[in-house]
């Protein structure tokens, strides 16, 4: 009797558990639902079993953090890529092997986790047979993806991973943004020349290749120019209490604090720094780039500086046109990740057009020849290490928006 009454409850519990197990292993399940602001997401997914060369569409793959704490990175990038693909399709698509074809993007969510990103790449290559892969934003995730793309000889273009190691994985890995040594150098130059800082404290994310890289290159340039790093403190992604590190930093009385983390942490760090009475300005990198920074940091983040890929204040008609189109479509201003997503997709499209083929090797060779491509976030020329060489801008946070301060060239 008792057992019989309980049976349906067991069934329910196991159903919940089974659903859970399913959710976790299938990043696709989340990919569609995670971004309802883009209802027409990722166009028509081609039948994954059919190699796209036989179909009317060319399938590109994308891996991004559509959920997780850096979700705005993935969502912005996805929107930028979507815009590029729709523009290309509206203009007639690309001609491959003499036939006109449309483009489609298959997006997988990696929840911001490197291991999920690597799995997604394997899936894109072996199941969806994509021609090229776009992604990721976070360097740790790109580093997990790159070896698999390289092994399968599928070109991978990262829109915005700035850690140098990413493209060092192999000759099929590209990026359309500048790299950390440059970004760290730019901030070090800005700190010594404009802020006249002599003593700087660093607060870095110990679990992030991006953050560690940036602080290393900042330190190298800054000490070479005669500055002193008075404190080097660390935290781990997921922390929300930084008062211990900030108390140590406060005791060292720095002129400025370099926080090369992601916006999620930076906003909270700024609040706690001001609460503890630390008044030195904060400096950071492109990981600060998100509308969320202003909400999370509130008034505490005002007056801080960060290096970035582009500024929405750029008067160029191409940039302003992109901003207008993006705003009309997604209802918000494109951040630099959206701009770089757009650029990455366009660089791949141009290479596809030049190659006239979806062959991995041919596409790679054409990607490597990318020269003076007029992107939204600066002109892109890929060097022999497959990195883009382009200037950086310094932005300052002011009352809930960013103001352009300076452009620093390589």
């Amino acid at each position: 009797m008792l057992a019989a009454r309980r049976a349906p409850l067991f069934a329910f519990t196991f159903a919940v558990l089974a659903a859970l197990g399913g959710c976790e292993k299938k990043p696709t399940a989340a990919a569609g639902g995670a971004a309802p602001e883009a209802p027409k997401a990722e166009a028509k997914p081609a039948d994954p079993a059919t190699p796209p060369a036989d179909a009317d569409t060319i399938l590109l793959g994308e891996v991004g953090s559509l959920t997780g704490s850096e979700a705005t990175f993935g969502i912005s990038t996805k929107n930028g890529i979507q815009m590029a693909i729709e523009e290309v399709n509206a203009a007639g698509g690309v001609t491959v092997n003499g036939k006109p074809k449309k483009l489609a993007v298959r997006v997988y969510d990696d929840q911001g986790k490197p291991e999920e990103a690597a799995n997604a790449v394997t899936r894109l290559i072996s199941q969806d047979r994509v021609v090229a892969i776009l992604g990721e934003v976070a360097s740790s995730n790109s580093l997990a993806m790159a070896p698999r793309a390289q092994a399968a000889k599928v070109p991978m273009v990262s829109p915005s991973s700035t850690n140098p190691k990413v493209t060092e994985v192999g000759d099929f890995i590209f990026r359309v943004c500048f790299i950390d040594p440059f970004q760290g150098t730019v901030m070090a130059k800005f700190a010594t020349e404009t802020l006249k800082a002599k003593n700087v404290a660093i607060l870095k994310d110990n679990k992030s290749d991006y953050s560690l890289g940036l602080s290393q290159f900042f330190t190298e340039t800054f000490t070479k120019q005669g500055g002193t790093i008075v404190a080097e403190e660390a935290y781990s992604k997921g922390d929300t209490d930084f008062r211990g590190q900030l108390t140590v930093i406060k005791g060292k009385k720095p002129d400025a604090i370099y926080v090369p983390g992601y916006y999620t942490d930076v906003g909270v760090i700024a609040r706690q720094a001001r609460e503890l009475g630390v008044t030195a300005p904060m400096m950071g990198g492109d990981g600060w780039e998100s509308e969320k920074l202003f909400e999370l940091g509130g008034a505490a983040i005002d007056g801080s500086y960060f290096s970035n890929h582009y500024s929405t204040d750029n008067p160029s008609p191409v940039v302003q046109g992109f901003i207008k189109g993006f705003e009309a479509k997604f209802g918000s201003k494109p951040d630099s990740l959206a701009a770089l997503g757009y650029d990455a997709a366009m660089v791949v499209v141009e290479a596809l057009k030049r190659a006239g083929s979806t062959d991995g090797q041919k596409l790679r060779d054409e990607l490597a020849k990318t020269n003076n491509h007029g992107g939204i976030a600066g002109t892109i020329t890929l060097d022999d290490k497959r990195n883009a060489v382009k200037p950086a801008v310094i932005l300052q946070v002011k009352d809930g928006h960013t103001a352009y301060v300076a452009t620093i060239s390589p």
Binding site: A34, T67, A71, S236, T240, V248
Partner: protein
Amino acid sequence: MSDLLQHVLNGLAAGTIYALVALGYTMVYGVLKLINFAHGDVMMVGVYVGYASAKQMGRDTSSSFLGVTLVFLLSMAMCAALGFLIERFAYRPLRDKPKLTALITAIGMSFFLSYSFQLEASLGGLTVLPGAAPRAFPDVITSQVWLIIGDVVVSNKQVISVVVALALMGGLQFLVFRTRFGMAMRAVSFDHRTAGLMGIPVDRVIALTFMLGSALAAGAGILYAIKDTLVQPLMGVTVGLKAFVAAVIGGIGHVPGAVVGSLCLGLVEEFVVGYGGSTWRDAVAFGFLIAVLLFRPEGIFGRVTAEKV
């Protein structure tokens, strides 16, 4: 010297948050011998309820005393209901199964909550699931920072957390050892079958324990969000893990033990950051746990119980 004092204050404030979460862990464990890994995620749900209700009230209303109280009560009530549902549908059917089954279900429940909250969904204009983007918790308690001795600062939020944690600890201790309900809880904890035979409504006692634990989690979560601002779906995971460690250090199932363990953990972490090197913080925190488990597996306050074979 002022650094030292500041570190002590920071560590105590961090430890208090662990303590508030650890109290819920330890209470449920005390009664059910179940480590409710979904506890941190229930806390996260409570924070979102608090976030939504504070936003709904607007800044002026929610920062009044009545408003803040309402934010707390709403979120605690919602979490109590959630705790009831979780117990009823996920844990109760497995009560007579091996302990491991319930433990795995608890882990599943934790993932279920933290990952479904990363999706976005709304029903008729009402947001049901918030999505992954991090948010800043509204300033329902206006931040005040007091300077004490030199440049050592203490904020009103830290003081409030400490007072609330101590009050809750006292309240729980009273509930468990001085009330009829507490006596029923202890009887169920001792042996739930026999307790049932003695006429104790086991199901009701366990359900109420879960509701109480979940309401505690919600209160802790809101204090945490007020102190550290950041609201995001995975926030329960880290805090939940640290609070669990703290509860084990103090002796899991022991109410004052949870508080002492949490304050110890908060201070240890803070001192590692302040004087040892911030890269070592988590390593030392979990090393501390291993050391406690090696030399005093029952925790600081735990009692050694002989296992009946």
